[in-house]
C-alpha cells in the first residue's frame, strides 16, 4: 500500500511538471502579452512598455523564467499577480470559497437527485420513468451550459423578475436567504449536467448490483424491498461512485467555470477569465496548477477510498 501511494505520487509529480510546462509554453509563445493593456495609456511608448516588461522580469530567457518560477513553487511562492501584486496563492484562496459554495451545493444536489433518479430508473427498468430519465439525461448533457444559463436569466430575471441575474449576494444584505436566492439559478444550471451524469452511472451501477446473489438472498430471506434497496443495493452501487466522484472533478470544475462566467459569480472561473483578459500569467499558471493538483488528489483519494471501502480491491 505505501509503495502504491509512493508510485502514484511519483506519477502525479511527473504529470504536474508536464502540466506546468504545457501551460508555460502555451502562454509565453503566444503573441501579445501583459503589456498590451497599457499600450493605449496616455504617454505610453514602446520604450516605456519595454522598460516595464524588463522590470517585471519578462525580458529574461524563457527557460530562466520557467525554472525560477518552478523552483519557487516548492517554497510555497507561486508568484505575484501582475494586476494587484498579491501572492497568487492568496488570490486563488480569495476566490475559492465562492467556487466551493457553488460546486458544493450543486454536487450535493446532483448526488441526491441523481442517486434517486438512477436507482428508481434501474428498479423500474424500461418503465416510462426510466425512458424519460434516460432521454432527459442525454438531452441535459447536450445543452450548452452557458446558453441554458442565458435562457434562465432571460426567463427568471429579465422577464419574470423573480431571481437576481448574477452575483453571489446583495451588498448590505448578506443573509442566508439572500445567498440562497442568488444560488438558485447557477446551482440549477450547474446541477443539470451533473444530475444527468450521476443518474446514468447510478442506474448502471444499480443494475450491476441488483442481480447479484446477495441481493437475491436478502430478498429471499423476506426482507422488505425498501430495506434491501437501501441497505444492500444502494450501498453497494455507491461504491464505484466514489471513483466517479474523483474522476468527475475536471468536469465539475469546468462546468463551474462556465456557470460562473454567465452568472458573474465571483469564483475561480471568473478569476480565470479575468486573468486571461489581462494576461495575468502568474494567476493563470496558478489556476492551471491548482486545478491539476485538485484533479490528481481527487483521483488518488478516490482510489484509496475504494481500497478502504472494499477489501476485495487490492491496490498495487
Amino acid at each position: 500500500m505505501p509503495q502504491y501511494i509512493l508510485n502514484r505520487l511519483g506519477q502525479s509529480a511527473v504529470v504536474l511538471v508536464l502540466v506546468s510546462l504545457i501551460g508555460f509554453i502555451v502562454l509565453n509563445l503566444a503573441p501579445g502579452g501583459p503589456m498590451s493593456q497599457f499600450a493605449l495609456n496616455p504617454g505610453m511608448s514602446q520604450a516605456e512598455l519595454d522598460r516595464i516588461a524588463e522590470q517585471m522580469g519578462l525580458k529574461r530567457p524563457l527557460m530562466v523564467q520557467y525554472f525560477e518560477w518552478f523552483t519557487r513553487l516548492f517554497i510555497g511562492d507561486w508568484g505575484h499577480s501582475f494586476r494587484d501584486g498579491r501572492p497568487v496563492l492568496s488570490v486563488i484562496a480569495g476566490h475559492l470559497p465562492a467556487t466551493l459554495l457553488l460546486m458544493g451545493t450543486a454536487t450535493v444536489l446532483s448526488v441526491i437527485v441523481g442517486t434517486w433518479v438512477g436507482v428508481l430508473g434501474a428498479v423500474r427498468r424500461y418503465s416510462v420513468f426510466d425512458t424519460l430519465a434516460t432521454v432527459g439525461a442525454m438531452v441535459a448533457l447536450s445543452i450548452p451550459t452557458f446558453w441554458f444559463g442565458l435562457v434562465a436569466i432571460f426567463l427568471f430575471s429579465l422577464h419574470l423578475g423573480w431571481l437576481p441575474a448574477g452575483n453571489m449576494y446583495t451588498i448590505g444584505d448578506r443573509s442566508l436567504g439572500d445567498y440562497a436566492t442568488h444560488l438558485i439559478l447557477p446551482v440549477a444550471v450547474l446541477a443539470l449536467v451533473n444530475v444527468a451524469i450521476w443518474s446514468r452511472y447510478m442506474r448502471s451501477a444499480t443494475l450491476d448490483v441488483i442481480d447479484q446473489d446477495f441481493v437475491r438472498t436478502a430478498r429471499a430471506k423476506g426482507l422488505p424491498y425498501r430495506r434491501v434497496l437501501t441497505h444492500h443495493v444502494i450501498r453497494n452501487a455507491l461504491l464505484p461512485m466514489i471513483t466517479l466522484a474523483g474522476l468527475q472533478i475536471p468536469t465539475i470544475l469546468g462546468g463551474a467555470l462556465v456557470t460562473e462566467t454567465v452568472f458573474t459569480w465571483p469564483g475561480m472561473g471568473r478569476l480565470f477569465l479575468d486573468s486571461l483578459g489581462y494576461s495575468d500569467y502568474p494567476v493563470i499558471m496558478g489556476i492551471l496548477m491548482f486545478s491539476a493538483i485538485l484533479v490528481l488528489l481527487g483521483n488518488l483519494l478516490a482510489d484509496l477510498l475504494v481500497g478502504v471501502a472494499d477489501p476485495r480491491v487490492r491496490l498495487g
Binding site: V139, I143, F154, V258, L273, L288
Partner: protein, 295 residues
C-alpha cells in the same frame, strides 16, 4: 463526458459492421432518431441557404431586430438586419465542419498515441500515458481558453485548438484496448510470421479496436461542437462576419431583453446537433457491445 464504460473487443475484422450489430443499432430508437435528425440538419445546412430569400451577409439595417415570421424572415433578423435563418444555416456549416474536423484530428492523435502506448508499453507507454494524464488533469475548457485567448482566431485554428485538447479520452480507450489485443492469438501469429510492428499496430490491432474508437469519436464531435460554441460565445472563437452558432449567441447576449429569439434559436440548434450525436454514440455503444441486448 459519458464515455466511461467498458468496451468489449472484437475478433475478426468488420465484425462491427455485420448484420447483428446493424440490427441492434436499428433497434435503438433514439440512435435512429439521432441519425435522422443529424441528416436533416446537415441537408438543411448544405442546401437550405439556397432556398431562402436572403443570404447570410445581406445587411438591411432599417429592418433590424424583426421578430420571427416577419415577411420572409422566418426566424427574424439580427442587429444588422441580417436574416437569422440564413445565418443559422451558414453557421451550422461552420460549427458542424469545425466539430467534424476536430473529431477527425483528435481521433487520429488519440488513436496514434493510444496504439503506440498500448503496443510498446514500457517507458514509451508510461511516458505517453503521463502526457495523456497531464492533458486530462485540467478541465479542457481551461486549456482551450488559454490557447484561444492568445492566438489569432480562424476556423482552422479553432479546429486545431479543440482537437489538441480533446484527444485524451480516445487515447486512453485505445491504449486499454490495444494492451489486451496484443496478447491475443492473431497478434502473436502476426508476430510469428514476421510482420513489422507498424503492420501489426495499424493493420491488425487498430481495425480490431475500431468499434470503441467510433463510439468515442461520435461523442467527441458532440463535445467539439459544445466547445466551439463556448469559446465563440466568449468572443475568443470564430470571428464575425463568419457566423457560427457560438458567436451568434455571443452577439445575441447584449440584446437578450429585447430580442430573445436571437439567443434562443442558435442555442436550440446546438442542443439539437449535440443531442443527435450523443444519441448516435449511445446507440453505437449498445450495438457494438455484444453483451448488451435491448429487450
Amino acid at each position: 463526458m459519458s464515455t466511461v464504460a467498458t468496451y468489449p473487443s472484437f475478433s475478426g475484422r468488420l465484425a462491427w459492421f455485420s448484420n447483428p450489430t446493424l440490427a441492434r443499432f436499428m433497434r435503438h430508437k433514439l440512435a435512429v432518431l439521432g441519425v435522422v435528425m443529424i441528416t436533416l440538419l446537415v441537408l438543411a445546412c448544405v442546401f437550405g441557404p439556397y432556398l431562402l430569400h436572403y443570404t447570410d451577409l445581406s445587411i438591411d439595417i432599417r429592418n433590424r431586430f424583426s421578430p420571427p415570421l416577419t415577411g420572409n424572415h422566418y426566424l427574424g433578423t439580427d442587429a444588422l438586419g441580417r436574416d437569422t435563418a440564413a445565418r443559422l444555416l451558414n453557421a451550422g456549416r461552420i460549427s458542424l465542419t469545425v466539430g467534424f474536423f476536430a473529431m477527425l484530428i483528435s481521433t487520429l492523435i488519440g488513436t496514434l498515441i493510444g496504439v503506440v502506448a498500448g503496443y510498446y508499453r514500457g517507458w514509451i507507454g508510461a511516458a505517453l500515458m503521463r502526457f495523456v494524464d497531464a492533458f486530462l488533469s485540467f478541465p479542457s475548457v481551461f486549456l482551450v481558453l488559454v490557447l484561444a485567448a492568445f492566438i489569432k482566431p480562424s476556423p482552422t485554428m479553432i479546429t486545431l485548438i479543440i482537437a489538441v485538447t480533446s484527444w485524451m479520452e480516445i487515447s486512453r480507450i485505445v491504449e486499454a484496448e490495444i494492451r489486451s489485443l496484443r496478447e491475443r492469438d492473431f497478434t502473436l501469429a502476426a508476430r510469428m510470421v514476421g510482420a513489422s510492428h507498424r503492420w501489426i499496430m495499424f493493420r491488425e490491432l487498430v481495425p480490431n479496436a475500431i468499434g470503441p474508437i467510433i463510439v468515442a469519436a461520435t461523442l467527441t464531435i458532440a463535445n467539439a461542437i459544445l466547445l466551439e460554441a463556448y469559446i465563440s460565445f466568449l468572443g475568443y472563437g470564430i470571428q464575425p462576419p463568419l457566423p457560427s452558432w457560438g458567436n451568434m449567441l455571443n452577439a445575441a447576449q447584449q440584446y437578450l431583453g429585447n430580442a430573445p429569439w436571437l439567443a434562443i434559436i442558435p442555442g436550440l440548434a446546438i442542443t439539437l446537433a449535440v443531442t443527435s450525436f450523443n444519441f448516435i454514440g449511445d446507440g453505437l455503444r449498445d450495438a457494438l457491445d455484444g453483451r448488451s441486448d435491448l429487450k
